[in-house]
C-alpha cells in the first residue's frame, strides 16, 4: 500500500501512525491494555455506574411486562413513542462501524485501520441496544417471536408486505454480518494475545477464540479474500438497513412519513450520528490509554469531514421535505410542515435545526476539526440533534394527522426515560468490558501500516 506509506511522510497531513513504531512496539502497546495493564479505579467506577443504569433498564422492562405498554406515553393517535425513536437512533449510530470497516476498506482508506475495531464493537452494542426496543414495544412481547416465519400449528405466517417484517430481516441480518465481520477481524489478534499472555487459562481462552490461527501464508490469502468479500457485502447491507428502517415510515400514509426522500437522508443521518458516536468514544479512549500515536489528528479530521458532509446531506433532506410540503400542494403535508414550525412541538424542531445544521457548520474551521475537546462537544450536539430528528418524525407526524377530531399530544413517562437512559448505560458498560478484554485497535492491521511491512518483488 505505497500511497498510504507516502502519506505518512507527507507533511501536509498528519500521519495515520506516529513514526518510530515497530511491529513489536505496536503489538506490546495494544495488547498491554488487555493483558498486563491493571484495571484502574476509574474503569471500575465507570463500569459500575453504567452497570447500574443497565439494571435500571431491566427493572423498567420488567415493570412494563407486568403492567403493559400503557405505562409509557404512547396512546392513540401517537401509537409509537420513545421506543421507536430510540430504536431508529441506536440503529443509526450502529452504522458507523460497518461503514468504517467495509466502505473505507474498499476505498483503501488505510487510516481506518486504527479505529475500525472499536467502531465495529460500538456498532454491535448499538445494534443490541436498538434491538431491545422493537421486542419490548409490542403489546404482547411474549409473542414477539410471531414475527419470525417458523412452522406452527396455526398454519399462519408473517405478513411480508409489512415494513416491520423487512425490518426484522434487515436488522437481524445486519447484526449477524457485523458480528461475523468483527469476530473474523479479531481472529489474528486473538492469536497474538494467546501467544503474549502468561496465565494458562488465559492462553486457553484466547487460544480457542483464535481457532488456532498460525498466520500461514495460505490462510492469510483466503482470509483477505474473505475479508474483502465481506466488506463488499456489508456495504450494500449497511446502506439497506437504514433504508429499510426509513420504509417503516415512508410506506405509511401519515403526512410527514409518506416521503420518497427518506431512504437517502436516513442513511446519511445514520452515518452522521454514527461518526459522532465514534468520536465521542475515540477521543476519551485515546487520551486515557495513550493511543494518540495510533488515533491521530488525521483520524479526528477525517471523521469531522465525514460528519460535515453527511450533515449537509441531512440538511438537504430537511430542505426538500419542507419544499415538497409547500410545493406539493397537499393540504396534509402542508399542515405537517406548518405544525413542525409553529405547532406544540416547534421548540423541538427548532432545536433540531440548530443541533443538526447550524452548529456543525463550525467544522469548516480547521482548528476546531483538530481540537479533540471541540469535536467531543460538537459530536454530543449532533447526537442530541439526531435523536430529536427521530422524535420529530415519529411523534410530531403522528400527533396531528388527517382528522382534526383525533389529534392528540404525547407525553413521555418516567418509564420511557428510564428505558432510554438504561440502554445508554448498557451500551457504555459493554464498551468498558470490550476495552478490557479485547484489543481495542486491530493489531495486525496496524502492523501493515508500518514501513517495514513493505516488500519489494
Amino acid at each position: 500500500m505505497p500511497e498510504q506509506y507516502k502519506s505518512t511522510t507527507d507533511l501536509e497531513r498528519a500521519p495515520v501512525i506516529e513514526p518510530g513504531h515497530t511491529f513489536g512496539t505496536v503489538t506490546e502497546k495494544i495488547s498491554a491494555i488487555v493483558l498486563t495493564r491493571p484495571a484502574s479505579n476509574g474503569w471500575f467506577i465507570g463500569f459500575g455506574l453504567f452497570f447500574m443504569l443497565t439494571m435500571m433498564m431491566l427493572f423498567a422492562i420488567g415493570y412494563l411486562f407486568l403492567k403493559g405498554i400503557g405505562i409509557w406515553g404512547v396512546t392513540i393517535p401517537i401509537g409509537w413513542g420513545f421506543a421507536i425513536v430510540n430504536f431508529v437512533w441506536w440503529i443509526g449510530i450502529g452504522h458507523a462501524g460497518t461503514l468504517i470497516s467495509a466502505i473505507l476498506l474498499l476505498l483503501r482508506q488505510s487510516w481506518r485501520n486504527s479505529i475500525n475495531r472499536f467502531a465495529e464493537a460500538m456498532t454491535l452494542f448499538a445494534v443490541a441496544a436498538a434491538g431491545i426496543f422493537p421486542a419490548i414495544h409490542v403489546g404482547r412481547p411474549w409473542l414477539a417471536y410471531w414475527l419470525f416465519p417458523y412452522p406452527n400449528t396455526m398454519r399462519v405466517w408473517p405478513q411480508f408486505r409489512s415494513p416491520l417484517m423487512w425490518d426484522v430481516f434487515a436488522v437481524s441480518t445486519y447484526a449477524t454480518i457485523s458480528a461475523l465481520f468483527w469476530f473474523t477481524g479479531l481472529i489474528p489478534d486473538f492469536a497474538t494475545l494467546r501467544d503474549r499472555s502468561e496465565k494458562r487459562w488465559v492462553k486457553m481462552v484466547y487460544g480457542m477464540l483464535s481457532f488456532g490461527w498460525r498466520g500461514s501464508a495460505r490462510h492469510w490469502h483466503r482470509y483477505e479474500t474473505m475479508y474483502l468479500l465481506l466488506a463488499g457485502l456489508a456495504t450494500p447491507l449497511v446502506l439497506s438497513v437504514h433504508t429499510v428502517v426509513s420504509f417503516d415510515f415512508a410506506v405509511g400514509i401519515v403526512p410527514g412519513w409518506h416521503t420518497t426522500i427518506f431512504p437517502p437522508y436516513f442513511v446519511a443521518g445514520a452515518i452522521y450520528s454514527g461518526f459522532a458516536m465514534v468520536l465521542m468514544l475515540a477521543i476519551p479512549i485515546r487520551k486515557i490509554y495513550g493511543l494518540e500515536d495510533f488515533i491521530t489528528e488525521r483520524h479526528l479530521q477525517n471523521s469531522a469531514k465525514v460528519m460535515l458532509a453527511t450533515g449537509l446531506i441531512v440538511a438537504y433532506g430537511y430542505g426538500v421535505e419542507a419544499f415538497m410540503g409547500w410545493y406539493g400542494g397537499d393540504r396534509y403535508d402542508a399542515f405537517t410542515l406548518w405544525n413542525r414550525l409553529h405547532g406544540p412541538y416547534a421548540p423541538e424542531y427548532w432545536a433540531l435545526l440548530i443541533c443538526n445544521i447550524l452548529i456543525p457548520q463550525v467544522l469548516w474551521i480547521r482548528r476546531l476539526r483538530t481540537s479533540p475537546i471541540a469535536l467531543f462537544f460538537i459530536s454530543g450536539v449532533i447526537l442530541v440533534g439526531m435523536w430529536l430528528e427521530r422524535f420529530i418524525i415519529v411523534v410530531v407526524s403522528l400527533h396531528r394527522d388527517f382528522l382534526t377530531s383525533s389529534w392528540g399530544m404525547y407525553y413521555p413517562t418516567r418509564w420511557d426515560w428510564m428505558t432510554y437512559i438504561g440502554t445508554i448505560g448498557m451500551f457504555l458498560a459493554a464498551m468498558f468490558l470490550f476495552l478490557r478484554l479485547l484489543p481495542a485497535i486491530s493489531i495486525f492491521e496496524m502492523r501493515t501500516l508500518l514501513p517495514e511491512a513493505e516488500v519489494k518483488e
Binding site: 412452522p151 400449528t153 398454519r155 494467546r194 486457553m204 487460544g207 481457532f211
Partner: protein, 243 residues
C-alpha cells in the same frame, strides 16, 4: 511456545461448530412437536368425569341417537349437554340403585347440576357452530371420532387451527349425505360401498364431495383478483371463526 491444546481438540471444536446447526434445528422441531402433541391438545386423553358415562354402551349397545341428548346440535352453535332429567327418563326405571349413578340421582333430588368436564374444548376466541356443520353434511364422527366405540369419552382430533383449516380448505373430502350425518357406522364411498344421493350412486369421495358441495351450498369460493390470483375463500376468511 508449547502446545496449549491436545490433538483431539481439533476434531472436537469442528464438531461443535458443525453440530450447532443441527441442535438449533432440532429445538425448533421439538417445540413444534410438543405443540401438536396430546400433552397440549388432549387428543385421546380421558378426562375425569363425575359419572363414568359410556357412549359405547348407550350408542352402540342401546342404539340411542346423538340428538336424544345433544338436542340443540341442529339448531344452535352449542350441541347441548343433557340435563339430569334426560338421564332420569330411563334411569328412574332401570339401574335405579346402581352405585355408579348415585351422583345423577343426587343431582335430580337436590336439583344441583352434575358438573362434567368439557371434552372437546376450544379456546374462547374461536366460535364454532354445530348447526351449520351438521346441516352441510359433516358427520359427528368426522370431528368427534368413533364415539360409539368409546367406553369413556375422549377428544379424537387435535382441534388445532391447522386441523380446522384442513377441512375448511377442502371440505369435499369430509362431506356425506345429510341423512348419514348421525350414522356412526357410516363408511365413505368406495367401489363395493356405493353411497346413494338423490338416486345417484357414488363410489369415490371426490365425486361425492364435489356433488355435495354444490348440493349443500358449501361456500368454498375464492376471492379473485382481476389478474386471476386468488385469496382466502369464504370459509377460510378469519372472521369465519374469530370475532
Amino acid at each position: 511456545m508449547s502446545q496449549i491444546f491436545h490433538r483431539s481438540t481439533n476434531t472436537l471444536s469442528r464438531a461443535t461448530i458443525f453440530g450447532a446447526v443441527f441442535i438449533v434445528a432440532a429445538l425448533i422441531w421439538v417445540g413444534y412437536a410438543i405443540q401438536g402433541s396430546p400433552y397440549v391438545t388432549y387428543a385421546g386423553v380421558r378426562k375425569p368425569q363425575p359419572v363414568p358415562f359410556s357412549h359405547q354402551h348407550h350408542v352402540t349397545g342401546l342404539g340411542i341417537d346423538c340428538r336424544y341428548c345433544h338436542t340443540s346440535v341442529e339448531t344452535s352453535s352449542f350441541a347441548g349437554i343433557p340435563p339430569t332429567k334426560t338421564c332420569m327418563n330411563c334411569h328412574s326405571q332401570i339401574w335405579t340403585n346402581a352405585a355408579l349413578l348415585e351422583p345423577v340421582r343426587a343431582s335430580y333430588r337436590s336439583g344441583e347440576s352434575l358438573q362434567w368436564t368439557r371434552v372437546n374444548a376450544l379456546p374462547d376466541f374461536v366460535f364454532f357452530n354445530h348447526s351449520i356443520h351438521v346441516t352441510k353434511g359433516v358427520g359427528c364422527n368426522t370431528c368427534h371420532g368413533p364415539v360409539d366405540t368409546m367406553p369413556l369419552m375422549y377428544q379424537q382430533e387435535s382441534l388445532q387451527m391447522e386441523w380446522c383449516l384442513g377441512c375448511h380448505r377442502d371440505p369435499g373430502k369430509n362431506l356425506r349425505p345429510r341423512d348419514q350425518v348421525f350414522n356412526m357406522r357410516y363408511l365413505p364411498p368406495a367401489t363395493g360401498n356405493p353411497v346413494q344421493v338423490d338416486g345417484r350412486s357414488f363410489t369415490d369421495q371426490d365425486s361425492l364431495g364435489a356433488y355435495l358441495i354444490t348440493k349443500y351450498r358449501v361456500r368454498v369460493g375464492k376471492l379473485k383478483t382481476s389478474d386471476g390470483q386468488t385469496s382466502v375463500g369464504d370459509i377460510t376468511s378469519c372472521s369465519t371463526c374469530h370475532r
